[in-house]
Subunit: 247 residues, 3 copies
């Protein structure tokens, strides 16, 4: 745990947050959720920070929740690090921009639905394998995804839980653009700097207007968490997790 | 009426429901609506059934309402077979998957908006000719369609009422995928079996979350029915139906 | 001001409204907003008018608000000509169809979100440069745009404020179709005449159903206007406008 699993670097108004746990394909453990939330809140209150860029080290965005860590983490209530992270990305006023290379699984895909701009390279793959694990979607993805792609495509991505490519994500408007792998970080940073150069109060007021359904999104998030917790204790889920962990 | 116009076959957790009235291009009469609803509710309560597949016989999905039958069917209240069918596909908890070959007209297109997964072959055509008949859209399509395709495309499809192809339906995310005609039934059945193999409680809870706006959808359905009934009695509609039936 | 800056011509049930102020790239001054509103309301009450077509003269749709005129126009309350125009396009019951050639900037793009059908040629460019001017989006575009294109693309178009092409607008379903420049006016007029030939009461009832979220749209419009007025008086905006006007 001495290694720094969440790294930050501030560059001309942009706080770059990197997921760095390559031996676990950047899976988020509880400590990482806490650090992420802390760095975001810190940046939110720092006038020098105008935008956040999220990225993963080692050609991987994040393989999602660290399942063994998560299974021992107690109730999914307001003080749970995962729940606090979700509320943070829902409520943050400064823009979030993601650069996705490699796998974006589970929370790796659902957190993108809370970002303002999302770019990926051709190595990126996205997956929402909640039902496959006998769980339900989280991070309000059951509301946000149908709003972007419609009920039929949302049902496909969530109920079948199969992975999909950057090109599909682009066609569905889940991401803004597919960028050449070698240029992804530079391009996304330049886009983040463009946002950082916009008038900050007008930018934040406009983001707030765009998030007109925030109360509804939060309510859906809470509704999902109740069902998620319930499913987590089910025999269905226990069997699936057992299979997953012994794979 | 001795011929079986709605056929069912259960296959590894999938109830396959076929529309079979080829001499009327599978137009739905009241009896067919009743049978459809009955077979769906029956399957909903049968633990062995995990998903429904809807298809039409004879390279036709359905040409829609049987208009002469419908015009003699009385008030569109809660006990009307069409209304009961609409409520059924709105409220059903198990996934609905459609295979569309040939024409899907009126209810043939609007029922797809309640399906979880929709596949079509290149012979498929879709049409919402309600305004053309001096009526208004039904099955909450006036709410569900703009949510998928946006106001401008929804207005085009509903106000102009022209037919559109499988390829357009795919671009608009109304359907999930276009499949080779010879493989459509097999492919859709295999997708249905994938859903049938998912953990059933997680699957149903996830579908329920995806249908977060169900109360609003039902309200819109009822609002449409009031206007639909009103329009049905209008001089505009009488003239259009007369022209249609004597064509 | 003796020149006629808003021209109308009625043709077989279609009222064609042309923006005609070529020396200012059809920028809307207050007088033009008033005339637009007047011609729309007049047509709304005229049984011979069944649809409206909006277009610009001189291969330009409109470069948006006339900023110097607008800056001297007083409070953005219910009696302001711009606000009255916005309420008019929100509440109008007969269909609005737009033909976009050349630039559609600011209100030039946001008014399209209230149209039923929108066509453009390849010379068309769209832009929402509100944040660039230290303002926030208007005409409920912060609600309507995400409903069509999803949060990620809406954030791109609004927060970065860069211009986009007809082909992008088509891919995003903001417009219905891209048409050859030489045929744009004829094609759009023929589409408008198709709508004018539909049964008028069924058409209007269907448009009303499609606009199911009208109350929410109006509320968002008012919420935007409060923030817009606030931003307009900000130091951020004064600096941006100064730069813009002395450019």
């Amino acid at each position: 745990m001495s290694q720094i699993q969440i790294q930050i670097k501030d560059d001309q108004g942009v706080r770059i947050i990197s997921f760095n746990r390559p031996e676990k394909r950047n899976a988020f453990n509880l400590k990482m959720y806490q650090q992420l939330t802390e760095y975001l809140i810190q940046g939110e209150h720092d006038n020098a920070i105008r935008a956040f860029m999220l990225r993963g080290e080692g050609n991987c965005f994040t393989s999602g929740n660290d399942i063994s860590d998560f299974l021992n983490s107690g109730e999914l209530n307001e003080t749970h690090p995962t729940v606090q992270f979700l509320h943070c990305i829902l409520e943050i006023k400064k823009p979030l921009i993601a650069a996705v290379s490699g796998a974006a699984v589970g929370i790796g895909t659902t957190l993108l639905l809370h970002c303002d701009l999302v770019y990926a390279d051709n190595s990126a793959t996205f997956q929402l394998p909640f039902v496959n694990l006998a769980l339900v979607p989280e991070a309000a993805s059951s509301l946000l995804l149908p709003l972007i792609v419609g009920q039929q495509k949302a049902a496909e991505l969530i109920l079948l839980g199969e992975s999909f490519t950057a090109s599909t994500a682009k066609e569905l408007n889940i991401i803004n653009q597919v960028v050449e792998q070698s240029q992804l970080d530079d391009f996304v940073l330049s886009q983040a700097k463009k946002l950082a150069a916009q008038p900050p109060l007008a930018l934040q007021a406009s983001k707030q207007l765009l998030r007109h359904n925030q109360a509804e999104v939060k309510q859906q998030m809470l509704k999902e968490l109740v069902l998620f917790s319930e499913r987590l204790k089910s025999d269905e889920a226990k069997a699936r997790f057992q299979a997953f962990l012994t794979k």
